[in-house]
Subunit: 418 residues, 2 copies
Amino acid sequence: MKKNAFYAQSGGVTSVINATAASVILESKKYKSKIGKVYAGKNGILGALKEELIDTSKESKSAINSLKSTPGGAFGSCRFKLKSFEENKKEYIRLVEVFKAHNIGYFFYNGGNDSADTAYKVSQISKKLCYPINCIAIPKTVDNDLAETDCCPGFGSAAKYIATSTMEASLDVASMSETSTKVFILEVMGRHAGWMAASSALARIDQKDAPHIILLPEIRFNQIKFLNKVKDVVKKNGYCVIVASEGVKNSKGKFLAESDRKDAFGHSQLGGVAPYLAGLISQKLNLKNHWAVSDYLQRSARHISSKTDLLHAEAVGVHAVRYAIKGLNGVMPIIVRSKSEKYSWKIIPAPLSKIANVEKKLPNSFISKDGFDVTAKAIKYLKPLIQGEAYPKFKNGIPHSQKLKLVEVKKKLPNWKD
Amino acid sequence: MKKNAFYAQSGGVTSVINATAASVILESKKYKSKIGKVYAGKNGILGALKEELIDTSKESKSAINSLKSTPGGAFGSCRFKLKSFEENKKEYIRLVEVFKAHNIGYFFYNGGNDSADTAYKVSQISKKLCYPINCIAIPKTVDNDLAETDCCPGFGSAAKYIATSTMEASLDVASMSETSTKVFILEVMGRHAGWMAASSALARIDQKDAPHIILLPEIRFNQIKFLNKVKDVVKKNGYCVIVASEGVKNSKGKFLAESDRKDAFGHSQLGGVAPYLAGLISQKLNLKNHWAVSDYLQRSARHISSKTDLLHAEAVGVHAVRYAIKGLNGVMPIIVRSKSEKYSWKIIPAPLSKIANVEKKLPNSFISKDGFDVTAKAIKYLKPLIQGEAYPKFKNGIPHSQKLKLVEVKKKLPNWKD
């Protein structure tokens, strides 16, 4: 029996999540006897709850294809976690009402570990509310912290951006260091896991190249050791490049970025590990420094996406559809790396019960003994993920992104009140 | 008579200053009867004073060519301004000693307006110390604030980076705005002139696209007007993207970035306009926000350099050499834009006396009436400068930059003591 599909984007977006969306839409078209329309949720699962469904069949083929080179979440994402069935049954009942009203039998949820949890809960609707649904979570997160999968679509591109930016900025600092800036700090994302900070190590050609210090959230910050290391590097090398994860914590387990700085209003300053470290280096070492915080730039930099990452993002979309029409439920297409020397990978399904809410941190074997670097093993893991370029088309000097029509399906139900 | 040439990089570097260096070196080879070797100053003019001269003839042809795609200053730059002849005659005498010792008759100084001042002073050595020198300043600055020239090599690439990053990040914010971030702030360089902040306007396809607010150093910051504008944009658009120049000043003429915030040590916080504005928006409007500071990333991002800018950078190098062998002294090759509708340009010489120490700010006609945007006239000026891509080669997932040998010429003089 032919059913429609629901696809939604969830959590922080990436430079290639729309490539996954394009794959879901295009692959679905191949199974015309099983899949009718693909409705995209406006702002993630909120679109399902509010019955705000975007009819992707109204978009031109070129618009769908252009999603492959457009960063951000084209249909809107959200930070919204479903409560458990017991805590908030009415949310699930509403979902089933919307699914019924629009003949939705396939549910694709494109997100990280919170989203895997939501998808896992939705997958249980079949059993608990006797509504048949094939629910597939599709991996996506620059944080690279999903369990089971070898890596997460979105991460490889952010990693390529970070490695490239670290390399480029370090050449800048190197040339200024004789009479000006001695220390440069780049703050990257990764609140709980250090994958992104670790990827800066790919900037090196020689061992003595930048970054000279990597600060990971897995390692508690030791101010004395850190300052000694900075001093040492500047003495030996003339300058020092530091890449710091936003999630670095002090010995008391408090984010450095939330340390006791006050703003003009007397309120705690929200952050920035980079300006915090810059202040420390200015005061304690009196070394001229510069700092950058890449924030959203690193996860939206489609212009420097990794080709490998893009292929991953497309493949998980394709396989999600295949799993759904095969009748799978409560699974995620994950990336499995072959054990051979040459990098290769395949997609297999993994149960969401093993993925939901689990956070994969950098393993100890990836972190150097002094805690300021990553190991050769980490480099071996990371390197394949940033290989290949996948430039978007440019128009008028900037990457071209085609705007979608975003036509919403006519509502059939009363408004949702949460 | 055959003379050697001295080339040096000065001030903040750019993603294409090494392309100028490559052009100077390659063009010089064409005039074998007039130009012997090209010596590059190690760390700018300090290399001349310290007699630290890098023999560029020791580099392979591929190494010189690879300079065209390597950001930073390959020979080292410096922040060092010669005093006037009257104030510090011994510096000039030392320069002449070094020039004599190494048969240097051509002096190429690649920098901004401070460097044009230094080059202007060096050009007067001919008259004041009777040592014949052909001194040519070559324009370079991401700040785009040099007088006479239509634009400055380095700026177009930074502008392309800023426009691209603003566009990409705005797609990210747009997708998160329903349940998360409402305001995104990107801080860009430009301490005294708003050219870089202005270039973010090139991110727009439609008038309502990001950036929604541009804060320029030419316009004093008005907190009430600013907060009202942010509130308005978020109300109408769902989110607001702000691009702020690091040089924005408050009504008292003080940098916002140096406002009265204190760090953990009780010292004034050095900066960040972006975190300052973020704090303001959190406290006064209670809107969730994110901020990025691109710092060195924007001026070293060779991976997203503008092809037009790269061509400018190469052309000024080529013409500098031609002017020198024609016997010109105290000039700079500048870029002149044709008056035709289709963008075209040529290089002509301009006297350094008109360029040294002059700072070209955004003209009033480029700034919108409310002070939060640029005009159509500004867009018309800026747009051609970011056209075309000039991707570097990638190796192992990151842009490939070949390392130079940097062989120094044997010293002939006693050490320099300043």
